[in-house]
Subunit: 186 residues, 2 copies
C-alpha cells in the first residue's frame, strides 16, 4: 500500500516549556530561547542538539522547533523546518510574512544546506543565529552541507537580514556537551 | 496553545495511480512517472506542477511525492520532500540507502534550493531530473533559489550521481501548460 501521510510532532515537554504570552524583546532573548530548546532536547533524548523559534512582530512565540530526525526517522525534521511548518500551519499561510511582518527566526546554530533553502521560501524577515557552522562541525561532527559561497548575501537579496554570533558561547556549550556524549548522530 | 503536530498528506488520487508491483527499469521510465504525477497534480488541482518518485534497487516505487504547498499551507511540502519523508517513514530510516541501495530519486524538475539541501541528507545514490531550473523559471515564474555554484559536483562528492534532461520536453510541456493557466503560484 502506498504510504501517503506524514505525521511529525514536537516532544511533549515543549508544552510545559513555552510561554506564548511572553515577549522576547531582544535578539539575545530570542536566541537564548532557541538554545534552551536545543539543550532540553538533548536532556530529554527527544532529538539532536538543535532548537529554533519563529517570533512575530510583537516578539512573542508563533512556533518552535527542535530536531526530530531520529524519533521520526525523517531527515527533513530539523529544528528550523519544524518551526517553519508549525508557524505556517498556525498562521495558515505558506509564506509567513504575507500574513504578518516582520517575522523572525532564531536558531541555536547556523542552518544547514537544507534549512538554508527552507529559509528562502518560509517568509521570514530576520534570521538570528547562535553557533556558526564551523562550531557544529568541530564540536559534534555533524555535516552542514554545501551552501552558496555568499549565502548571507543571497538571503539579503531576498529581504532577509542575518545576525550571527548571538550567545555563541552558550550555543557552543550545548553542542560540546552533546559531542562529548558520543550519542547517535542523526 | 502551542502547535506541536504537522500532518502532511498526498492527494487521494495517488492511490489509484501507483502500481507498487511494477518495475520502472530505465531512467526514462522513472522520470516519465514523476512527470505524469506532476501533470495529474495540476489536473486535480491538488498542488503545483511538480512530481517526484523514490525507487529501490528493484526499480519499484518506494514512495511518491507531489507538490502540496498550497493545500497544506506549507512551504516545505515540495514534491521531492514529500517523497523523501514518505520513503523514510516506510523504510523506517532517516537515511534511505543505509537500509537498501541503490536508491534513486526521479523528479519532474530540477530540485530548488530547499529540495537540493534535502537531497544531500535523504540518502539517495542517483538523482534523475526532467526539466532544468531555467525551464521552471521561464515557463512558470517559480523561483528556484540560490544553489552552490557547482551544485552537481557537490552532490557527486557525496556519492550522488546526477542525470539531467530526461524526457525534458515532456516535463516542459506540463510546466508550460501550468504557466498558461495563470493559477496560484505557491
Amino acid at each position: 500500500m502506498l504510504h501517503a501521510q506524514v505525521h511529525l510532532t514536537l516532544p511533549a515537554w515543549t508544552h510545559d516549556t513555552i510561554d506564548l504570552s511572553r515577549a522576547y524583546s531582544s535578539d539575545q532573548d530570542k536566541v537564548t530561547l532557541a538554545i534552551e530548546l536545543s539543550r532540553r532536547n538533548v536532556e530529554a533524548a527527544s532529538g539532536g542538539p538543535f532548537g529554533a523559534v519563529v517570533f512575530g512582530p510583537d516578539h512573542r512565540v508563533i512556533s518552535i522547533g527542535v530536531n526530530r530526525v531520529m524519533p521520526h526517522t525523517c531527515s527533513l525534521a530539523h529544528a528550523e523546518n519544524m518551526a517553519y511548518m508549525l508557524a505556517q500551519q498556525r498562521l495558515q499561510t505558506p509564506r509567513l510574512n504575507e500574513r504578518i511582518a516582520p517575522i523572525t527566526l532564531a536558531t541555536s546554530s547556523q542552518p544547514c544546506c537544507q534549512c538554508y533553502g527552507a529559509t528562502v521560501w518560509a517568509g521570514i524577515d530576520r534570521l538570528l543565529i547562535g553557533a556558526r557552522a564551523e562550531d557544529v562541525m568541530t564540536l559534534t561532527e555533524f555535516d552542514e552541507g554545501p551552501l552558496p559561497a555568499d549565502w548571507i548575501g543571497e538571503l539579503n537579496k531576498r529581504g532577509i537580514e542575518v545576525v550571527r554570533d548571538l550567545c555563541r558561547d552558550d550555543a557552543r556549550a550545548v553542542l560540546r556537551a552533546y559531542g562529548e556524549m558520543g550519542d547517535d548522530r542523526y
